[in-house]
Amino acid sequence: MSEPLLSISGLHAWYGESHVLHGVDLTVAQGEMVTLLGRNGAGRTTTLRAVLGLTGSRRGSVRVGGVETTGLAPHRIARLGIGYCPEERGIFSSLSTEENLLLPPPVGNDRAMSLDEIYLMFPNLKERAASPGTRLSGGEQQMLSVARILRTGARLLLLDEISEGLAPVIVQRLGEIILSLKQRGYTILLVEQNFRFAAPLADRFYIMEHGQIVEHFTQAQLSSKMGMLHEFLGV
């Protein structure tokens, strides 16, 4: 079997003095959609940030497409074909919607969507192309945050809490978009709090607690794991 697109092993990460990740092991195969569940503060966001080298310091191994990334600067890691959608959405207030959309440079040539395709998928963004990015509604900002990494040819998407704080109808629309991205062949690692949003989408699930992976199961095993999920996540 070929190497997974993302392969994390024994990953430790720190913010300053505080030791946040304590040996995370996780893989995402090409074309797979994996969800990382856990309570607030379990280390899920830090895991995504550590993949990109955005934490203070990190130890262990993170391989993207077979390339070891520890020791690489964040922009070099991103250029291995990663698209990152941060938890706080990261919309720039001094940039228009279209400037936000066009900001990330190409990082690969897989599956790069054209601007027209993106506007077809996110019609609101076309209407509001000239507005400052932060004048958009929360839902539109979230769409923008996802849309802008689809142009870059990234093959691995790291999505952090994309359903957080959004109206149910928008969460549903995001779910449809994630599914269509998966059908297009994107590889996705999704960090989620909203289990109902993530449950029907993912091929596999990891559960984090205190900076470590404590459970790992597939979509087929999901129904037998509900009791355990209830205990860990209160769902």
């Binding site: 922009h75 990261g90 900001l103």
Partner: protein
């Protein structure tokens, strides 16, 4: 003479004349504070060496003319390039290690750089200064109706306005500028998109420094080129930046030109106050709007 509430008003030509000359000073303020604003925006460094780079620009032009026969027009291009390159080297070797620390460290380091630059040149050239000839094409004077002004001073105003406009356009209307604005807001995220932010930071510092050097070359024919020419100017320029709002591009240009004119106006109305009027305005702005006229909190 006209009177208003018992105060004698100076004649209109004198007012317009001093305001026009103030606009020349304002052009230098605008160019220098523009570079400071761009640097502060992205690097969060208060570049105290800005006056020294302005001085180095003028010196580079003067030395290039004296020893290499490089004329004014070529110096206008080459001196900013050379001094900008020096800025890039200093950013890579020294300034880089201070990011993420208290901005005070960057201020202290750049202050030290300016002391070293001034001291080294004082050692070689003394403080008396040298003259730089006005280029042939800009010799002569123009009659504006209310005053006769040397052609070179009009050129300074025009050239500064064009440079400020081009810089504004680059930052506000191009892809590169959008990247710069985004990095100013959140450099880590921009780097996580695959943009080489450390390179962008070096280039931005170099560009800001080059703007200072360009102002230095422009000023060479109007003032004495001396090692201390920057240190007296940079204090006023910092006041201009504070009034405009730290990091604001538009603010630095508008307040640079505006304050130059207000200074000129003060010279006719109440000459004794002309050297402190900028600082008085700064104090008022700090009380009324601590983030500056164009700054965001």
């Amino acid at each position: 003479m006209n009177e208003l509430m018992g105060i004698a008003l100076p004649p209109l030509p004198a007012v317009l004349g001093q305001m026009t000359l103030g606009l020349v000073n304002g052009s230098f303020y605008a160019l220098l504070s523009l570079g400071l604003a761009v640097i502060f925006g992205l690097l969060r460094v208060v570049n105290f060496a800005h006056g020294a780079f302005y001085m180095l620009g003028a010196f580079a032009a003067a030395l290039a003319l004296e020893h290499l026969g490089i004329n004014y027009w070529l110096a206008l291009l080459l001196a900013p390039l050379a001094v900008g390159a020096l800025g890039v080297v200093l950013e890579r070797l020294l300034l880089r290690h201070l990011y993420g620390l208290d901005p005070l460290y960057g201020l202290l380091l750049t202050f030290g750089i300016s002391l070293v630059a001034e001291g080294a040149l004082l050692q070689h050239f003394g403080s008396s200064g040298q003259t730089y000839p006005v280029p042939d094409a800009l010799q002569g004077a123009v009659n504006l109706g209310y005053m006769i002004i040397p052609l070179y001073r009009l050129w300074v105003i025009a050239a500064s306005l064009v440079v400020c406009l081009v810089t504004w356009f680059l930052i506000e209307r191009t892809r590169l500028g959008a990247t710069l604005r985004a990095a100013t807001e959140n450099a880590r995220l921009v780097q996580a998109f695959g943009i080489n932010v450390p390179l962008l930071v070096s280039a931005t510092y170099g560009a800001g420094v080059a703007l200072a050097a360009l102002a230095g070359v422009l000023s060479a024919p109007v003032i004495q080129v001396s090692p201390l020419m920057g240190s007296s100017l940079v204090i006023v320029v910092f006041a201009v930046v504070v009034i405009g709002g730290m990091g604001s591009i538009l603010g630095s240009v508008v307040s640079g030109l505006g304050l130059g004119m207000i200074e000129g106006l003060t010279k006719v109305i109440y000459p004794q106050a002309s050297s402190i009027v900028v600082f008085l305005i700064m104090a008022l702005v700090l009380i009324w709007r601590p983030t500056g006229l164009f700054g965001k909190s």
